[in-house]
Symmetry: C2
Subunit: 327 residues, 2 copies
């Protein structure tokens, strides 16, 4: 991006220059009647439109001394894309609202924009709109939009039935372990990278839908908590098999590096309660040929709606509640 | 809303309770496959989808000692609806992202939600999604979505041609005058109300499109600045006729109350440079039967793209640039 070394601050450069950097120099998808630069974007015809919004707030979700602007842009997009995937759709467009102090430099904006576009590209999406405003603390608010092809039904959170398999993509707990390492003074490593930018499983939402997933969500608040969300919405109970969770050597190494008295217990807590991994959690009828990347970790059953047992023991989810949490 | 007197704080009540209040107890539009409560909302088929996002930041756009939570909710929705109207569409859905300190009470959330729903109702829109997060300062980030009926073309900002009429809805300058009164220690009055919640001209965007508007935007940064935006994007110049602006007795009274040395000059500055009124500004071919509420205030002409003259005198727009501004 040509503005990568722009020494001006946001105050000096003005809104139009910032939005130009944020939206990139690229043309909008030719199918869209109006892309950037007008009051609103106009998207072309679609059979159904999936839309979600989520924000990242400095001091709550990130610290500028622990993340780069590029990673911040990537993470803001990734966590929204994840919510679109979790409806069984692919993400097609992204809007970015940005609140920053006036002394933020255009170089920092360009880095953020590079991250936004990198992650949007990865998802097959384009940036079609933005908003800029002043603020004491940085806020990045993203709206992500996806489309479902003609006749496709979104995969909801409330469609699980008893006696189905529960399956998950990715390696749960890595983001939480990465944060623990960062706060423990270990700035670099693969887990820290996962915390900075979750690895959203592009394409997996659509594949889960096509394979016949009965329910689908992304793990943002923690595996137990999000599984309880599916179970409660669907009116079923859920049984997790602890041994079915990935044996994740990186998590054990992190627990030991942090001097955990009981490393296995620390790893289990990260895997069951850690949020922001943004893997996809789904239920499928027994016998379904699961899409690539999904691993069976348990079964649904008739029972108290929302109750989750791990190896037969009822649990109290300890995951993240964004209103209650104090991080 | 039944939670109007809920004494709990946001921290005590938790995210699900807050989002329930924000989304209201109402069912989603039955045409939408998925409304609230899932990872993302899913909207039904549309010929074209209009989408925009804008945020309000405490300390930058509002002070909690000068606004109510209800008005804050209304204003956040109104300014986004305005951007949808400015494409020639009607607003159909709203998503609200909210960042608040944990000690915010559920009563305050309910007031904000009441304002969000009041303004959404006014616009014919429903709230289909939300996000809640913790923050030191309050941020309200709204995404507004509208649809264009089959075959309808959005009214862009860049379609004005030379020798067309320039027309405006509403009374420009009232929001700026209202802010001046508020900061001058006059908390109550009709201008202050306009500053707290702009009066978006529901239906006027669609009517302008149907009447054949060649360009359309909403006045958010100031009349001169937004007119220059149309002119620059369209490659034309613009002539405003000062005498065509409304004679607004309320503005003169405000200027006098504030002890302006030259009340007429103060009024002119509010009308030409004041932002956030969110009236609609359009160009139409000469001879167009203008929709209700639109008043002719000038003409476009061939000339330096983006140049605006008032009564023949070239101007330097002094409107609001959200990156440069220091309010």
């Amino acid at each position: 991006m040509s503005t990568g070394d722009d020494p001006r601050t946001v105050s000096q450069a003005g809104e139009a220059a910032v939005l130009e950097v944020l939206s990139g120099a690229v043309a909008p998808l030719s199918a869209d009647p109006v892309g950037n630069g007008d009051d609103a974007a106009v998207l072309g015809p679609a059979s159904a439109t999936v839309v979600t919004t989520d924000m990242l707030v400095e001091g709550t979700h990130f610290r500028l001394d622990l993340t780069t602007w590029r990673d911040l842009g990537r993470r803001a997009v990734a966590q929204n894309v994840s919510d679109v995937l979790a409806m069984g759709a692919d993400c097609s467009r992204v809007l970015v609202g940005l609140a920053v102090p006036g002394e933020t430099t255009m170089t920092q904006i360009a880095e953020l924009a590079a991250g936004v576009h990198e992650e949007a590209d990865r998802s097959g999406a384009v940036v079609v709109g933005g908003d800029l405003t002043g603020a004491e603390n940085v806020v990045v608010s993203v709206t992500a939009i996806g489309t479902l092809p003609g006749g496709a039904r979104p995969v909801r959170i409330d469609g699980a039935r008893p006696d189905e398999v529960i399956a998950l993509t990715g390696a749960p707990g890595r983001s939480a372990a990465g944060l623990a390492l960062l706060l423990g003074g270990h700035p670099d490593g693969p887990l820290q990278d996962v915390h900075r930018v979750p690895a959203t499983p592009i394409g997996s939402g659509r594949q889960a839908r096509l394979a016949g997933a009965t329910s689908l969500t992304d793990v943002s608040d923690g595996l137990l908590r999000d599984l309880a969300g599916i179970a409660r919405a669907s009116g079923v109970a859920a049984d997790l098999t602890g041994a079915a969770l990935p044996v994740d050597q990186l998590l054990f190494e992190a627990a030991e590096l942090l001097g955990a008295a009981d490393p296995a217990a620390r790893v289990a807590k990260w895997q069951l309660d850690g949020g922001e991994d943004h893997g996809l959690l789904a239920t499928f009828p027994v016998g379904t040929d699961l899409p690539p990347g999904f691993t069976v970790i348990g079964r649904t059953r008739a029972g108290d709606p929302g109750q989750v047992r791990v190896d037969g023991v009822p649990t109290e989810p300890g995951g993240w509640d964004s209103a209650r949490g104090g991080r």
